[in-house]
């Protein structure tokens, strides 16, 4: 049975009063609740995506000993709003050689692919929109729409830079999907399920119970996953599809105004989602290290902030990596994926399976300290 936010809310008393209003029309009630929660989550993630552009510039400035944006608002924090307004008022230019339909479709597909992943992101034990049985698998599958969007964006522009960027992007994204998927398979073996509820629920307690510390193979799998995820979201050092020093701007060279904005928004939200998935799969997600005697709603808030702080920490690491490492060459990119990450990921998967059988599902901590 798929647990959803509606079935979670149903345990509260105030929800009964609302439910009484929708007697005999539970679907409509579920729709309204989902719509409200979806708008909240989209608003939250769009804000985080917007602040992500600001954080990126501020952190890069910090690393390079510059000031960064500091004019709009205190410390320039409203810069992303100014950027948004600027994008809306920019003239909309489309190359006359472009494929009109696909030119419109590409940013839309990127947005759809990224937003659809938000449905299964476990913000806290109660505050997740739906706990699908196939959660992680669904997330991998639906995010492959973004790769398609990158290709279509490059193709539809009919510009040489875009076409090169699009081809590179699509082949990079599909290649790196393999090590990411196999790393997630290793976690699925350890957790005994694909839903985020199961996976996060398995990692209760101290950080030593997190899956990253479950066994040495899982520890390696985290780094394989994180590297692959960086490449899948086109982040540096894997930002070849939009390598600004060689391909101008890659697949979105010809995009202006709002459509460019949507590509950027999708990219930043995708980074957030990927960091959230890494936090949920390997770093214990929204679990508290201790049991709190608290009402349910404040507890959910605490869990939510724990999940967010882990995710945003990873987000910081992603930006930090971008401004530290140089970009790879295309052949290096492909050989890292197929000759290093994929074999290591398969090795991790086998290792996790063997560990599970040999030590009967116990983690390193349980073996060392005995029991829970």
């Amino acid at each position: 049975m798929n647990q959803t936010i509606v079935s979670y809310l149903a345990q509260y008393e105030f929800f009964d009063h609302i439910a009484a209003l929708f007697k005999g029309n539970e679907s409509l009630l579920a729709f309204l609740v989902f719509l409200l929660v979806a708008l909240i989550i989209v608003g939250l993630c769009a804000t985080i995506g917007g602040l992500g552009t600001y954080a990126e510039r501020k952190i890069s400035a910090d690393i390079q000993q510059r000031l960064g944006p500091n004019r709009v608002g205190p410390y320039g924090i409203l810069q992303f709003l100014a950027d948004g307004v600027k994008m809306m008022t920019k003239e909309d230019i489309m190359p006359f050689t472009a494929d009109k339909m696909l030119f419109y479709l590409a940013p839309m597909l990127a947005l759809v692919g990224v937003f659809a992943t938000l449905a299964v992101l476990p913000f806290s034990s109660g505050f997740m929109m739906t706990n699908l049985n196939v959660g992680v698998f669904y997330l991998i599958a639906i995010s492959s729409l973004v790769g398609l969007a990158v290709f279509l964006g490059g193709y539809a522009s009919n510009s040489k830079w875009s076409m090169l960027g699009g081809m590179r992007g699509a082949s990079q994204i599909i290649s790196y999907e393999i090590p990411v998927t196999i790393s997630i398979l290793a976690i699925t073996v350890l957790a005994g399920g694909m839903s985020f509820g199961t996976i996060v629920g398995m990692q209760k307690g101290l950080p030593i119970n997190w899956f990253i510390f479950h066994n040495p193979f899982a520890f390696l799998a985290f780094f394989v996953f994180f590297t692959g995820a960086l490449a899948e979201t086109n982040r540096a050092p894997f930002d070849l599809p939009e390598a600004e020093s060689e391909l101008v701007s890659g697949y979105h060279t010809e995009y202006t105004g709002m459509r460019f904005g949507f590509f950027a928004l999708a990219e930043y939200i995708e980074v957030f989602v990927v960091c959230g998935v890494a936090a949920a799969l390997f770093l214990g997600g929204s679990n508290l290290p201790f049991t709190l005697e608290m009402d349910n709603i404040p507890l959910q808030l605490v869990e939510f902030s724990i999940f967010m702080s882990k995710t945003l920490l990873l987000y910081y690491v992603v930006i930090w990596i971008r401004w530290t490492f140089p970009r790879l060459r295309v052949d290096q990119l492909m050989s890292i994926c197929w000759k290093y990450l994929t074999p290591i990921a398969i090795f991790n998967l086998m290792g996790c399976a063997i560990w599970l059988v040999v030590f009967n599902g116990k983690s390193m901590a349980e073996l060392m300290f005995g029991g829970h």
């Binding site: 920019k90 009919n158 040489k160 081809m167």
Partner: protein, 138 residues
């Protein structure tokens, strides 16, 4: 499955709908706010100021296609492995751990054989793929 279970799929449809609505909403706003002064030069594809010669839609290297082919095969393998991985722990708890492990590992080992073959024949190389395979195909 009861109808309530299908409600679990509702957020996906709603979020996709929000994405499409946001796209067209943003488009609509920019149609209202943005200036419109089209000119031929403005809408030529950007090539650093040069006049673009020919279309960008040209023949692409076969290596992209090879990567796509290898990807699909790994994709299908991972799809087949997911249900087994999901019940792996359950099987282990039921006492069939060794049996499950043998099945799982023999499946993966065939996968490894495939990647080892492609590696040794140079299909995983990005740059040298032409020369290497020429040598190996004698």
């Amino acid at each position: 499955m009861t109808p309530a279970n299908f409600d679990g799929l509702m957020p996906i449809v709603i979020l996709m709908g929000i994405a499409v609505a946001l796209f067209w909403g943003g488009h609509f706003v920019s149609v209202i706010l943005a200036p419109k002064k089209p000119s031929h030069l403005k809408s030529t594809p950007y090539e650093c100021g040069e006049q673009p010669v020919g279309s960008a839609w040209s023949m692409f290297n076969v290596r992209f296609y090879v990567v796509g082919l290898i990807f699909i095969i790994f994709d299908v393998e991972s799809v087949l492995m997911f249900p087994v991985a999901a019940i792996f722990r359950e099987l282990n708890d039921m006492g069939h751990g060794g049996y499950a492990l043998i099945i799982f590992l023999s499946f993966i080992s065939v996968l490894i054989e495939g990647i080892a073959y492609c590696w040794s024949k140079g299909d995983l190389d990005w740059v040298k793929s032409y020369q290497v395979s020429l040598k190996n195909n004698k």
